[in-house]
């Protein structure tokens, strides 16, 4: 069979809100009362090369449940599936560039036969002015397993900090802060996937 050519990307533009962030399409809250694991909040801002807020971005997340299992047929691990958790979130940004999610802290997931990946969340970022979306990952700054994470090890040491969400010292529910900087000296690490 002839291999078909991939369809290319185009920007999400400024007018996606009614379609992609309608009431039942946005998904800031990934958890319900039944969802197992440590419930956490993630919040941050999307910023451009001048550190101005990107008020028309869309941020999607994908993560494993608290046991480290993805709710997807390709994940055949024996770890427990949580019927009260799909692992997908979608948030817009407000006038100050803020996005947020309520989710659980994911468990560690396999990298290959021998190695594990530290708990992390895959982030996909869209906005006007992005001709192709960006992929990054959130890691938890207070997680000892980061030291042995095979993906973090591929990131230049001085840039790893951009992938580490910091825990807010005083918050009712554990809250991690994670800014996404599209451009500049503290630019977030984005992956070539």
């Amino acid at each position: 069979m002839m291999t078909p050519k991939l369809t290319t990307t185009q920007t999400i533009g400024p007018f996606f809100r009614n379609a992609l962030l309608r009431e039942d399409a946005a998904r800031n809250v990934l958890v319900g009362a039944q969802t197992l694991g440590e419930h956490i909040r993630i919040e941050g801002r999307v910023l451009d090369g001048d550190h101005s807020p990107v008020s028309d971005a869309m941020v999607e997340i994908w993560q494993a449940n608290s046991f480290g299992r993805y709710n997807h047929h390709a994940d055949t691990q024996p770890a427990l599936l949580d019927s009260a958790f799909t692992g997908f979130g979608r948030s817009g940004t407000d006038d100050d560039g803020n996005y947020w999610f309520e989710t659980v802290k994911p468990g560690a997931v396999p990298f290959d036969e021998e190695r594990m990946q530290a708990p992390h969340i895959v982030f996909t970022v869209f906005s006007r002015g992005l001709l192709n979306h960006l992929f990054t990952r959130l890691y938890f700054a207070d997680e000892p397993a980061n030291e042995h994470d095979p993906i973090l090890h591929l990131v230049p040491t001085e840039r790893r900090v951009t992938l580490l969400a910091q825990r807010e010292p005083a918050s009712a529910i554990p809250t991690y802060h994670f800014n996404i900087v599209l451009q500049g000296g503290d630019e977030t690490v984005f992956f070539n996937l």
Partner: protein, 246 residues
């Protein structure tokens, strides 16, 4: 045509995907990353994804001519847009969520940031969604969108297009793009369309008129197939130098 600065930071196949920096499209200038993307292998985290089950899709969602729910019908040339969603091996992708949005027949979006004096249509929201069937086929009934002005450069007009968002079978197959109509003189003047690096890749965004889809006394048919990335990834390094449009 004038020369535009084109960045070297590109995600994925450089003959398919646009660079992040394409200066002629002004919004890229402050939003394009400048640091090299970090090459990483695909892991379970990228080869899994949310699948279709995130919204309750009804058949009415795929009819943009009436889904405003006013009882009235949108003004414009009624069209059927259909096609197949395929993976990189050419196999159909069933049960996949497709979300679309578009301007009305006059080129106006129902959005607070679209304030040009094109008329709004009270019977048109310009949003729709559907799931692909077992053969990977999707189908929308809508009206042909108009071109609309934007402020990127003097007398700038976007060619008529429909925005498509596909979740795909895994995170790596996520796609947001735009479908265009053939023979539009605005293509040559549009920096967003021309940010795509090759003629072949640009052609992948253009629907074909399909008389077998056209329904007599009802609507004109357009066919557009979509091919999603998967596990195979073919990025390679090559410098980029080419002409652009302002």
């Amino acid at each position: 045509m004038s020369v535009t600065t084109i960045g070297s930071i590109i995600r994925g196949d450089r003959e398919v995907f646009p660079p992040y920096l394409y200066e002629a499209y002004r919004s890229t200038v402050k939003r394009a990353p400048k640091m090299p993307l970090v090459d990483v292998p695909l892991t379970l985290s990228e080869l899994t994804g949310p699948g279709p089950g995130i919204s309750a899709v009804t058949p009415e969602d795929a009819d943009l001519t009436t889904n405003a729910g006013t009882g009235g019908e949108a003004i414009g040339q009624r069209i059927i847009v259909t096609g197949r969603v395929l993976d990189e091996h050419g196999a159909p992708v069933p049960k996949m969520l497709i979300e679309v949005w578009q301007a009305n027949a006059a080129g106006r979006y129902l959005h607070k940031r679209d304030q040009w004096p094109g008329p709004l249509d009270p019977n048109f929201l310009g949003i729709g969604r559907c799931l692909t069937d077992e053969a990977g086929v999707y189908r929308f009934l809508t009206i042909r969108p108009g071109a609309y002005p934007w402020k990127n450069h003097p007398n700038a007009w976007r060619p008529a297009h429909i925005h498509f968002s596909l979740l795909g079978p895994s995170v790596v197959s996520r796609l947001i793009t735009q479908m265009y109509f053939p023979d539009d003189p605005l293509h040559a003047l549009d920096p967003i369309f021309n940010s795509v690096p090759t003629e072949e890749a640009r052609r992948s965004l253009i629907a074909s008129y399909a008389h077998d889809v056209t329904e007599p006394e009802w609507a004109l048919g357009w066919r557009w197939d979509i091919v999603l990335r998967g596990e195979r990834s073919t990025p390679f390094e090559a410098p980029v130098q080419r002409e652009g449009v302002r």
